[in-house]
Symmetry: C2
Subunit: 65 residues, 2 copies
C-alpha cells in the first residue's frame, strides 16, 4: 500500500524525491517506489530516511491493520 506518511514528512521538509534521495544516498526512483508502496526497503534505508526526516521507524513505517 502507499506510504503517504513519508511523502508528508518529505514535503514538510520541502524536499523533492530527488533531494531526499540524495541526502539518503539512494536514487530518486527508490524513494518514489517506496512512497508508492511498491518496494520493500531495507532496514538501513528506512533508518536513513527516518533520520533525514526527523521521524522514527514507527512514525513512518508502522501500519496498524
Amino acid at each position: 500500500m502507499k506510504n503517504i506518511k513519508i511523502k508528508v514528512a518529505r514535503v514538510e521538509h520541502d524536499l523533492s524525491q530527488a533531494e531526499l534521495a540524495k541526502k539518503v544516498g539512494v536514487t530518486r526512483q527508490t524513494i518514489g517506489l517506496i512512497e508508492q508502496g511498491k518496494y520493500n526497503p531495507s532496514l538501513q534505508l528506512c533508518l536513513s530516511i527516518c533520520k533525514t526526516l526527523g521521524k522514527t521507524l514507527d512514525d513512518l513505517f508502522w501500519e496498524e491493520e
Copy 2:
C-alpha cells in the same frame, strides 16, 4: 552491531531461533544473522518479527547513537 533486543524478546516468548524463523517464514540462519547484526533485513521481515514478538519497530530496531 548485535541486536540483543530481538534475542531478549524471542527468549521472553520461549522461542528458539528456528521456531521464530518458522513463525516468521524465513530460515534459522536469517534470524541468527539478524541477531548477530550481520544482516540488513527488509522492512517486511522486520514487521513480521515485530508482530510475532508483540513489539514495534522502534522497540526492536531503533538505535540511538
